[in-house]
Symmetry: C2
Subunit: 74 residues, 2 copies
């Protein structure tokens, strides 16, 4: 496998390393914000899914009552 | 606002900067994997939500038919 580690062999200066370090820090901060948003989206979608499953169950109960009524001519 | 930028003032050596840089790179790689997983989860939940909405609609159609039948004594 390739080694993507940063190394000193390329003669990088401290100032350059520092610049890169701060760029990466900004990237990490942005990714953290994005991940928080995604977590919130997942939470909402799970709540929505659970409500919809309950709605399907409710309607199935009503439908089976309707079928029973029809069978017995009520 | 506070400035959380890394700076040379603390007398950090290039080797230390490099170590930190590689640590950050690993964190970014892990976060990218995590974000891909979350994107996939969101995609699946949205498909599931859309199917469930369709199931609710189907049952509502059947229920309104049952109500009409009952009204007309069919």
């Amino acid at each position: 496998t390739l080694d993507h580690s940063y190394s000193l062999s390329s003669g990088t200066t401290s100032a350059e390393l520092l610049k890169k370090l701060n760029e990466q820090r900004d990237i990490i901060a942005l990714m953290e914000v994005k991940m928080k948003e995604m977590k919130s989206t997942i939470r909402h979608l799970k709540v929505s899914e659970s409500k919809l499953r309950e709605e399907v169950r409710d309607r199935d109960r009503l439908l089976s009552k309707a079928v029973i009524r029809k069978k017995h001519g009520m």
